[in-house]
């Protein structure tokens, strides 16, 4: 409407600087005569009438719109109580329960109410671990909504088209899927792009090949021993050492066999395992990763001891039990007095870890020889044990005082071990854990241990939560939030199954 534009232009500069713009006749006729007013009042009177005229006659634009609606949900909506719990968590209360709760929502074939999806997706954007949980608990609506906002694009599964162009994470996700479904094809894909990739990506790709690793991968991995990157080569050796029939392992066996000599015990003498240290690495040995400086331990342990550890770590443990016709426990007993006892235990522990050998792991744990921690993460052998055996050993650690407030590092170690148990803790272990926590809380819990303590409580089986909320020294500092987690978790999980 041009009359209004004329008025706005005049108003910007000041009404005195131009003549009074004309009004549309329909407005003019309603307004009547305004000439008795002074110039400014007349200007504003006209402008006010026009503004009202425009506002009362405001017409919406029109647009042709094609919208694809979300698929209908095949799951049930949540009850009122559960929606309340979700709102509470999104408002910051007991937020640590959210991942488990979302998992339960999906498992029970329910879906969260749509109006809370934006808040959940925003949270998932910041917390990678929540992403798949939000998508699966959000039903069809979550997929539909995430597709509307580029910030939430993690909702889409990575498309194979972006294998060469996608982000690092997308490419790894694609490779992971290929490797799970068609392992040989996945390897070929890595082989095709290998030369063009930076070292960091090459290393990450090799690590993905650990899934469905087989002897078929050996020729490709063997070639990679000549790769430029030390990190990539180390990742390659880690895989080759798990392939007992590979030429690489055969070479390692050939190198290590002359070094160990087992002598059976007699009536008056105990069995012994004599160790000859390896010689300096030649070019071929260096290519196979036998680098005395590889772990920075050469000054402390000696270069040749490091080489011994590296050799042992790449040899199938079966080789020793078969060659010497001894059980792992007997072999460990034989080396107890050896000056190389710890080096041997380290190499074998590393091998047990790579080969996931539970028998050796049990023997090493009971053998009383501590491996050199620098080569391996803390208490790694527990992760090799079957879940039940691991739970028993974790309970024993608790009884030995793994949770004492004075030693934060041990809490963290224990937590890491606990995280290797899938799902909820077995009830017996859970009970021991609760008893230990309650004991440590008797005179309050320091703040820096609270989030760890909280994560322990999130692992308790839901059936125990009722009893678990009882018997805490609730008045002590830091204890009330723990009890709240327990009772909130109990209420929130129970409500999901009831309504």
């Amino acid at each position: 409407m041009s009359a209004w534009k004329d008025y706005v232009t005049a108003a910007l500069l000041g009404s005195g600087k131009s003549v009074l713009p004309a009004l549309p006749s329909s407005v003019q006729s309603v307004l009547g005569d305004t000439e008795t007013l002074d110039a400014e009042s007349r200007f504003l009177t006209h402008a006010g009438a026009l503004a009202l005229w425009r506002r009362a006659g405001w017409k919406p634009l029109r647009q042709e719109i094609a919208v694809v609606a979300a698929e209908p949900e095949s799951t049930a909506s949540l009850g009122r109580a559960s929606i309340g719990h979700l709102r509470a968590m999104l408002a910051g209360r007991c937020l640590s329960v959210l991942p488990e709760w979302l998992g339960e929502v999906a498992r029970l074939r329910r879906h969260v109410p749509p109006e809370l999806l934006p808040a959940l997706l925003d949270r998932a954007r910041q917390e990678r671990a929540l992403r798949s949980l939000v998508i699966s608990a959000g039903g069809q609506r979550a997929l539909w909504l995430a597709a509307q906002n580029p910030l939430w694009s993690f909702g889409e599964s990575a498309l194979p088209e972006s294998w060469e162009t996608g982000s690092r994470d997308q490419r790894l996700a694609i490779l992971r899927r290929w490797r799970t479904e068609t392992p040989a094809m996945a390897r070929t894909k890595v082989e095709e792009v290998w030369a063009a990739e930076p070292a960091e990506i090459r290393t990450a790709f090799v690590a993905e090949l650990a899934t469905h690793l087989s002897e078929e991968d050996a020729p490709f991995l063997e070639r990679l021993l000549d790769d430029r990157s030390k990190e990539a080569r180390r990742a390659v050796i880690d895989l080759l050492a798990r392939l007992p029939a590979s030429p690489f392992v055969a070479r390692m066996i050939a190198r290590v066999t002359p070094l160990l000599h087992f002598t059976k015990g007699g009536l008056l003498s105990r069995a012994t395992l004599e160790v000859t240290l390896p010689g300096d690495s030649d070019a071929a040995a260096t290519r196979d990763g036998l680098d005395p400086k590889a772990f920075g331990q050469q000054k402390i342990l000696g270069e040749k001891t490091v080489l011994l550890v590296l050799l042992l770590s790449a040899v199938p443990l079966r080789h020793w039990t078969e060659t010497f016709q001894q059980t792992p426990a007997a072999l460990l007993k034989a080396v107890q007095k050896s000056e190389f006892a710890r080096a041997l235990a380290t190499g074998w522990a590393w091998a047990a870890l790579r080969q996931q050998d539970a028998t050796w792991a049990e023997a090493l744990l009971d053998g009383g020889i501590a491996p050199h921690g620098e080569f391996l993460p803390a208490k790694p052998l527990l992760t090799v044990l079957p879940d039940a055996a691991r739970a028993v050993r974790l309970a024993a650690l608790l009884r030995e005082g793994a949770l004492t407030k004075k030693d934060t590092a041990r809490w963290q170690d224990f937590f890491n071990l606990l995280s290797t148990l899938p799902g909820h803790l077995p009830p017996a272990l859970a009970r021991d854990l609760l008893a230990a926590l309650r004991r440590e809380c008797a005179d309050g819990l320091p703040w820096h241990l609270r989030s760890l303590a909280e994560s322990f409580l999130l692992r308790l089986p839901p059936s125990m939560l009722g009893e678990a909320a009882q018997g805490w020294p609730i008045d002590q500092e830091g204890v009330a939030p723990l009890v709240e987690i327990l009772s909130f978790r109990h209420d929130a999980l129970t409500a999901l199954t009831q309504s």
Binding site: A11, L44, W58, G84, L145
Partner: protein, 450 residues
């Protein structure tokens, strides 16, 4: 007993901090005792002190009482108690009210009766002499105020004239003080309605594209208010009331005594609380199921003081309301309520924006100074185009959503690409949604969602 839903309880919270704290207290473990009967719910909450706080809510109000020192209303304990009741009613067993609850309820009952008695006493006939004196006093006070307003509006006329002559580009460069001074003058002149509008001017100038259009429209609207005041004697009664209301005259509740009552089943369709000058203003919109008439209930409170909590979005109440006099009666007062509120599941709205905007035009014809009009449209689709949110009706007509509307993504999520009913306030430029009904679920959008 009517148990409020979580959404309804959250709508009662005075601020986001209370919601958060209330969520924390909605855990039964925080409560030493809990109970309810057919009228009230109560509990003792262990705080930092030696004795637990005693929290109680009369659900017929709802009204709250708590022994904690918080000046917020309702306090976090009150919110927590009702959230707990909404989420896990089984944890709050029905039992006889303890003495401290019964005492409070009795007191409330007594004070309600006293108030009724007092109202009756004021209605009681007094001798003609007193009546005449009261009337004379009132007339004198009214005349005095009118004189002050008249003097103030002469200054406003001069100020607007200067503004028009010097131009909006000039005004845009003025410091905030330029507007503060004239706004303060309007307060002196007892024209607070104009003062409030003037205080929004710096915001209008800073509002980006189209600011000059908005500033000129506002200047013209104020100029028309001056015209209205100068002809107050000759205006029809309703329009005159609108002029007086826009300038800042208030109508006391007692003045509505004789007003006609409109009885209907009123859908409480939307609610929003805004801060204005250390004052919280709550706007609650009702729509009559029978008459389809909108009604706007206002509640004012200083920060931390209670707002009226009796109208809960998402409910339908059978009630009689009295409209304040106006050229386009909208503001109203709930006079009498009949029966319990019910859940709102299906709103009666316009089918198109054209229809809704036609109603807005009719309201503006009665009161050109209305700042917002209600807009309830069925089957519309939220959309995002070029970084702006729109609502599209069944005819393909689109209206923009207000930029400051915080829940556009939630509204989109609720629609899932299928049409939903949306209620909002239309300010002449954009729609600010306050609620939606999607798949028979009413969702309030005027406050926090989580």
């Amino acid at each position: 007993m009517q148990i409020l839903t979580t959404e309804q309880v959250l709508a009662l919270a005075p601020d986001a901090a209370s919601i958060k704290a209330g969520q924390g207290l909605s855990n039964p473990g925080k409560w030493v005792s809990l109970g309810r009967d057919d009228r009230a719910v109560w509990g003792e909450c262990q705080g930092s002190g030696k004795n637990p706080y005693r929290t109680q809510a009369d659900l017929t109000g709802p009204a709250f009482q708590c022994s904690c020192p918080s000046r917020k209303f309702p306090c976090k304990h009150g919110i927590g108690l009702l959230l707990l009741l909404a989420a896990t009613p089984a944890r709050v067993s029905e039992t006889a009210a303890p003495a401290w609850v019964a005492e409070w309820l009795t007191k409330r009952q007594a004070s309600a009766e006293k108030k009724a008695a007092k109202a009756e006493a004021e209605d009681a006939p007094v001798d003609p002499e007193t009546v005449a004196k009261r009337e004379a006093d009132r007339t004198k006070r009214a005349a005095k105020r009118e004189d002050r307003v008249r003097a103030g509006l002469i200054d406003l006329e001069t100020w607007l004239g200067d503004l028009a002559r010097q131009g909006l580009a000039h005004a845009k460069q003025q410091p905030a003080q330029y507007f503060d001074t004239i706004a303060a003058r309007m307060i002196d002149a007892q024209a607070p309605g104009i003062a409030r509008r003037l205080r929004e001017w710096p915001g209008v100038f800073a509002s980006g594209d189209g600011w000059a259009d908005r500033a000129l429209a506002e200047a013209g609207t104020l100029r028309w208010l001056l015209h209205g005041f100068s002809r107050l004697d000759t205006l029809p009664e309703g329009l005159g009331a609108s002029v007086r209301q826009a300038i800042g005259w208030t109508t006391a509740e007692q003045e509505l005594e004789g007003a006609e009552l409109q009885r209907d089943r009123w859908q409480v369709i939307g609610q929003i609380v805004e801060e204005e000058d250390r004052l919280r203003v709550q706007r609650t919109w009702l729509i009559g199921e029978e008459t389809r008439r909108p009604a706007l209930c206002l509640s004012f409170a200083a920060t931390n003081q209670p707002l009226d909590l009796s109208l809960i979005p998402g409910t339908v109440i059978e009630a009689s309301v009295a409209y304040y006099p106006s050229g386009a009666p909208l503001r109203a007062l709930v006079r009498e309520r009949h029966g319990e509120p019910k859940a709102l599941v299906n709103a009666i709205g316009c089918e198109t924006f054209a229809e809704a905007l036609q109603r807005t035009a009719e309201l503006l014809a009665g009161d050109p100074w209305l700042e917002r009009t209600p807009c309830l449209v069925r089957e519309c689709l939220p959309l995002r185009r070029d970084d702006t949110w729109w609502l599209c009706d069944r005819d393909g007509a689109i209206v923009p959503l207000a930029r400051q509307f915080p829940h556009a993504w939630a509204l989109l999520a609720l629609s899932g690409g299928a049409p939903v009913t949306v209620f909002g306030e239309w300010d002449g430029h954009a729609l600010h949604p306050l609620s939606t009904i999607a798949g028979e679920r009413f969702i309030a959008l005027g406050g926090a969602l989580a």
